[in-house]
């Protein structure tokens, strides 16, 4: 896995939220990225979904690149485009080449994370009719705006060719757009302002130690020649969390306003994106030789798995996940004084009416599954077939968000309990 520019990466010390180049960021795998994008399109329809994903990418990449170019001392358009292309590849998003002027231009993508991983995961099963790389399109548009000192919204980008549709490469056309007012800012200051006092949980010393080791590890690895980060059986991106948050919460608000009867299924799918992410990425890390070298072999003890997952979450920038209660086979409670979702929601939307840490909800459910339904000693391969097998006969756990920072509580809390124990 890659931490592309370690000097640009920092953590909020007590809260384990990550900043990259000053922008709120997290590591996420292709399972999460693809499922979340798909859910947005399911909620809004493919065209409107693409538009939202493009707009969110452009908005958060714009802020990110303004800061990054200033840090790098990039003052000319050529220098700024170079910074953007370098960072894009360093983040594990693939290779993007831009040939632009203030009015627009062309972009070419190779090994773009979304299109490439979509084709690898789904390409033999279904045909994709629409392009997959709205994030890259938004990033390209933002790069053009920042390169020429244009305000947000001045550049549009459309992906005309996409590897996910079996085109040989990805290609974008950039054209002039209309400046768009951004929503309330969600940067480092807003994130810092919207966390709660930190606390500790069970096995804290061990969790802290493992998390520190994982951070060191991620800081020393680089992406490959494709601009992709392939590790632990997944493709990893260092991603702007504002992108994830805006598309998720804007989609929820849209469904609340248009088809409120569908809010429940949307929230279920948002949780599933967290579930599939943690099962595959955390599971892949726990099964890796690197983990064995750093922590030791897994015995199959659920406690060992759960504390490992808390440490992984902290290292990936998901927040200060703590173990409040673990009764193997019966109950798992995890808490955090900060999640990347709640910090965004408060900054942009204010107080929530209900617990809405969707990723955290699905993630803790997956932690319970990893702790109890994987035979670690046999070192299983975490294949799609294995993942699907978890759902046959129903999941024997249910997750419930009992407290939420965004709704005014001092922490976000997820309770996962066995459906067999009641």
């Amino acid at each position: 896995m890659s931490a592309p520019q370690p000097a640009l990466r920092e953590y909020l010390a007590e809260h384990d939220l990550m900043l990259f180049g000053g922008a709120p960021a997290v590591y996420h795998c292709h399972h999460f990225n693809l499922f979340l994008d798909q859910t947005i399109d399911d909620a809004l329809g493919q065209v409107a979904g693409e538009r939202l994903r493009f707009s969110a990418a452009r908005e958060f990449a714009h802020d990110f690149l303004v800061t990054a170019c200033a840090r790098e001392g990039a003052t000319t358009p050529v220098e700024r485009i170079s910074v953007a292309q370098t960072l894009f590849a360093a983040m594990g998003q693939g290779k993007l080449q831009l040939s632009v002027d203030p009015a627009g231009g062309q972009g070419r993508g190779e090994f773009l994370h979304y299109g490439y991983s979509w084709f690898e995961k789904y390409g033999t099963k279904v045909k994709r009719l629409r392009p997959a790389d709205a994030f890259a399109a938004g990033f390209a548009a933002a790069a053009n705006e920042v390169a020429f000192g244009l305000p947000l919204g001045s550049t549009n980008a459309v992906e005309g060719f996409c590897i996910a549709r079996r085109d040989p490469h990805c290609a974008f056309t950039l054209t002039a757009g209309s400046p768009t007012p951004a929503g309330p800012k969600v940067g480092a200051a807003e994130i810092r302002a919207n966390v709660r006092p930190a606390f500790t949980g069970k096995s804290e010393d061990e969790v802290v130690k493992i998390a520190a080791g994982l951070r060191d590890f991620t800081a020393s690895v680089r992406g490959d020649h494709r601009g992709l980060v392939q590790a632990f059986g997944v493709y990893v991106t260092l991603h702007l969390s504002g992108y994830y948050n805006r598309i998720s919460f804007d989609a929820v608000r849209h469904i609340e306003a248009t088809t409120p009867q569908s809010v429940g299924v949307l929230e279920e799918l948002l949780r599933e994106s967290g579930h599939v992410c943690v099962f595959n990425t955390f599971g892949g890390i726990l099964l890796s030789p690197e983990w064995e070298g750093m922590v030791g072999k897994l015995s199959g003890d659920p406690t060992q798995v759960v504390l490992g997952c808390a440490a992984i979450a902290r290292a990936l920038g998901f927040g200060h996940w703590t173990i409040a209660d673990l009764q193997p086979g019966r109950r798992l409670v995890m808490r955090s004084p900060a999640t990347y979702e709640s910090a965004y929601f408060i900054a942009r939307h204010g107080r929530a009416a209900r617990g809405n840490d969707y990723f955290f909800q699905g993630a803790v459910l997956a932690v319970a599954q990893l702790a109890h339904r994987v035979d670690w000693k046999s070192k299983p391969k975490l294949t799609q077939e294995f993942y699907q097998s978890l759902f046959r006969g129903g999941i024997p756990w249910r997750a419930e968000q009992t407290r939420g920072i965004a709704k005014g509580d001092e922490m976000s809390e997820i309770v996962v309990s066995s459906t067999n124990s009641t």
Partner: protein
């Protein structure tokens, strides 16, 4: 036809690894025989053979090259698979890859002659289209564990209603089919 009858029809055929009998047009497994030592699960496989033959038939018709004697032969690394239509059934015969093609043809003709006597006329079951659409989706969708939620979100039809697709009205069926086509990336559902 019972398991014993099918077994009797194929037991003396060398190099044969399995036979799957798929009832058309619903692509449902009708009967099967799998050689001892193979770990194939007929219920998970048979319906795909029906779809494959149907797609092949439509393609050949488009080329004005279809005939009732049509045969699909697939040569994979360790398997020789032959698909033949027999009245209301698709017969899939899996041979060892090393079996000589000429001998395979002879064996197939002999097996089909035996099966022709054994397989009964089949009255296709009339099933609501919505049910077929849902079955088709569940068979081919990526991430099948979440696909009904995706349909619910796309169509505004509740999960509870989707659990009883035969009760959907015409408008809901149209939305259902539209969402299934989008999810699978298809222009039409070949059912």
């Amino acid at each position: 036809m019972g398991q014993l009858s099918l077994q009797q029809a194929v037991e003396d055929v060398p190099s044969l690894r399995a036979v799957f009998v798929t009832a058309m047009p619903d692509c449902l497994l009708y009967d099967s025989w799998v050689r001892s030592g193979e770990d194939w699960i007929p219920e998970n496989i048979a319906s795909y053979f029906g779809d494959l033959v149907r797609a092949n038939r439509e393609g050949l018709k488009g080329l004005h090259a279809w005939s009732a004697e049509m045969q699909v032969t697939i040569e994979s690394a360790d398997l020789l698979l032959v698909l033949r239509e027999l009245r209301d059934f698709v017969i899939a015969l899996a041979f060892e890859r090393s079996a000589p093609l000429g001998m395979v043809r002879v064996h197939i003709n002999r097996i089909l002659a035996r099966l022709s006597d054994l397989l009964p006329p089949l009255a296709p079951e009339e099933r609501p289209r919505a049910l077929l659409v849902v079955e088709f989706l569940e068979k081919y969708a990526p991430d099948p564990h979440a696909v009904m939620q995706r349909v619910a979100l796309r169509t505004g039809i509740s999960i509870e209603e989707l659990r009883q697709p035969e009760r959907l009205d015409a408008g809901q069926l149209e939305r259902l089919e539209g969402s299934v086509k989008e999810i699978l990336g298809l222009d039409a559902l070949a059912m």
